[in-house]
């Protein structure tokens, strides 16, 4: 009976209208470069002050979920991830668009985002307390190794010029994260005397600079159209006929990416970017054709988008149970809860259970609504990209990119950073260095440094430096994964070469 009252609480006309509107707003905001999920939720926060607590949470949660999906629009169509969670979506989504399969990528992204989002919500409802215990097992050393794992897999997987150049790109990203005030000691580092660099290099200008500006610069090189669609692919992509078979053949990928998203989501500060990269890596490694990843394999889009939407609800576990926000967007939602007088922690599940479960049901409805709204918007977004000529698309991308880098912190200097990194990214991309590991290094750098320094201090205090980094069970598992991710490509390539040599002889 109680459950029915929660359902009735969600299915009021005002709530349904708010959910539908928030899904549209969330997709649009998520698609805009420079507006991350956290910024999207923060932008609409003031609107919720006059709402009922449950309605306010549904509104914010729906925008968070929809913006996480909306990030895939830029990633697939323009190689410009609207949010950091969609970085891994660019690897295969953008090549799919370039070869005329953007509509299929958009359909898949929409469908798996809904599946990932709903699975995350179901797991939150069923497993919130045990998952929070798992979150508590992640100390500084585990977080440090998790960050290193994120950078290492990205480096070895997306390095078009080979694993060494990929690793260098990742380390270069970590080096960029050193700029500004140090996370623990408050030293001002590598600012070259420029006040604009004291706050560090922002992830949004860097993302825009390294991933979007090179696309604009590259458009100038040849007369080729932006999307090279062969005649055989110039037919309408149908959802049931085309997307569903691809999804069926990626059943295991979908399940695995969901599980990865759920577990990474509960780890505070890990978030959707790491989840989508881990899922992408796992999908590639277990695929029968790993070489097709990064060249437009739909499995890459499925892995990334499933995992990042699965983290949305699972990241509510540390936020609601431990009052530790899993991601920056969760921090904004936590602030909204405090503004509405809601006490987080175990008490939330008893004192405000009605609000919590109404919120979860509302979020489920919003996630389900992403399917029709997202399919409609995604199809039209792709048709727009296909229809417009390159001479309009290039300045449009340049304008939105530079505006996006400005709007991140209302800083003119961020535009300069985006442009400088864009020029640099384009130059080094021509020599085989890839930008995504650099972006990820920059994103994870502060987390890795903070965790590393904390673990180092704990080790010094307990007189067990080696034990703190190398002796904890979860750390050992992650270290093994790091070693596999770094050395497996070399070993595999040597084995292939030897086999080839044997065949020749």
């Amino acid at each position: 009976m109680e459950f029915l009252s929660y359902v009735a609480g969600v299915l009021t006309p005002i709530n349904i209208a708010i959910i539908a509107i928030s899904v549209v707003i969330g997709i649009v905001l998520g698609a805009l470069p420079g507006i991350s999920s956290a910024v999207a939720v923060a932008l609409v926060l003031p609107v919720t002050f006059t709402m009922e607590p449950a309605t306010a949470l549904i509104f914010l949660g729906s925008i968070y979920m929809a913006s996480c999906y909306g990030g895939s629009y830029g990633a697939i169509l323009l190689n410009a991830p609207g949010t950091p969670q969609s970085i891994a979506t660019t690897f295969d989504g953008f090549p799919m668009t370039r070869r005329g399969e953007g509509a299929l990528a958009m359909y898949l992204s929409c469908l798996v985002s809904v599946v990932g989002g709903l699975t995350g919500i179901i797991c939150f409802v069923l497993l919130a307390p045990p998952l929070s215990k798992i979150a508590l097992m992640f100390g500084p050393s585990e977080l440090f190794w998790l960050g290193i794992f994120g950078v290492s897999i990205m480096s070895t997987l997306s390095g078009e010029g080979g694993p060494l150049k990929g690793l260098i790109s990742g380390v270069l990203g970590l080096a960029l994260s050193l700029v500004g005030i140090a996370v623990i000691s408050s030293d001002t580092r590598y600012t070259l005397g420029m006040p604009g660099l004291v706050g560090g290099i922002g992830i949004v200008p860097a993302c825009i600079g390294l991933l979007v500006i090179p696309v604009v610069i590259d458009m100038m090189r040849t007369k080729d159209e932006y999307i090279q669609m062969p005649v055989s692919r110039q037919r309408k992509v149908r959802f049931l006929e085309d997307a569903m078979p691809v999804l069926r053949s990626n059943r295991l990928n979908l399940l695995r990416s969901n599980i990865i998203g759920l577990f990474v989501g509960v780890v505070p500060a890990a978030g959707g970017a790491i989840a989508s990269l881990l899922a992408y890596s796992a999908a590639m490694r277990s695929s029968g054709d790993p070489a097709s990843y990064g060249k437009g394999n739909p499995g890459g889009v499925i892995a990334s988008e499933t995992a990042n939407n699965a983290t949305v609800a699972s990241s509510f576990v540390p936020t609601f149970v431990l009052a530790v926000p899993g991601t920056p967007a969760d921090a904004v939602i936590l602030a909204a809860m405090l503004i509405h007088g809601l006490q987080v922690g175990p008490a939330l599940f008893t004192h405000h259970a009605d609000i919590l479960w109404t919120f979860m049901l509302g979020l489920s409805l919003a996630t389900a609504l992403i399917l029709p709204i997202g399919l409609f918007m995604g199809r039209h977004a792709y048709q727009f990209i296909v229809a417009v000529p390159k001479s309009y698309l290039a300045p449009l991308i340049a304008t939105t990119a530079l505006v996006g880098s400005f709007s991140y912190q209302n800083s003119h200097f961020d535009m300069v950073i985006a442009l400088v990194l864009g020029g640099f990214g384009w130059l080094i991309a021509r020599c085989g260095f890839s930008a995504p590991p650099m972006v990820l290094g920059l994103l994870l750098g502060p987390i890795i440094e903070r965790s590393f320094t904390q673990a180092f201090l704990i080790g010094r205090a307990t007189n067990d430096q080696i034990g703190i980094f190398l002796g904890r069970p979860i750390s050992i598992v992650i270290i093994i994964c790091v070693l596999i991710s770094v050395f497996a490509p070399h070993i595999m390539s040597n084995i292939t070469k030897r086999r080839g040599a044997r065949h020749v002889s």
Binding site: I168, I184, S185, P395
Partner: protein, 164 residues
């Protein structure tokens, strides 16, 4: 780019990154003990990896030359016309836009750079007065729409200057 043509650029980047590693290491001496811990690790890693790349590039070049001296030139399909100057010009236009936006304001500079980039994009069909006018109108509508969406609807401020 062919391996031989790519080599100087790749080598230059590898040397630049090695020097960057040395700079990171050298500068970390002025930080506190905790503040210098992570930069030192990154500096050393960057240095080692960059030097490995230098070695790998030299090795690859030696092998490539050996293979090239034995192989016959493949008369494959003619290369596409690549207009690198346009790429550099687009960076210059964006640079000018970023530099002039505090003076000219968002709408003025964005519209000018929008049109400059649009006319710079290589295309098969030549520009006619009609297509150029259409692009000018599209640029004005697009820039105005972005301005209105961000400043009026989302209340996100945009760069302002002496003009508008």
């Amino acid at each position: 780019m062919s391996p031989d043509r790519k080599f100087p650029a790749e080598m230059a980047i590898a040397v630049f990154l090695a020097l960057l590693g040395i700079y990171i290491l050298f500068s970390s001496r002025s930080f506190s003990a905790l503040g210098s811990l992570f930069p030192r690790i990154i500096g050393v890693l960057l240095l080692i990896l960059s030097l490995s790349l230098v070695g790998s590039l030299l090795n690859k070049l030696r092998k490539a030359r050996a293979v090239l001296s034995e192989s016959v030139h493949d008369p494959a399909s003619p290369p596409k016309e690549v207009m690198l100057w346009r790429s550099f010009a687009s960076v210059a236009i964006m640079g000018l836009w970023v530099g002039l936006v505090p003076i000219g304001g968002f709408i003025t500079t964005s519209l000018l750079s929008f049109l400059a980039i649009a006319f710079l994009v290589p295309r098969e069909a030549p520009w006619t007065p009609r297509s150029a006018a259409g692009m000018a109108v599209s640029g004005l509508v697009t820039v105005s729409a972005i301005y209105l969406l961000l400043t009026k609807l989302l209340l996100v401020p945009l760069p302002s200057g002496y003009l508008f």
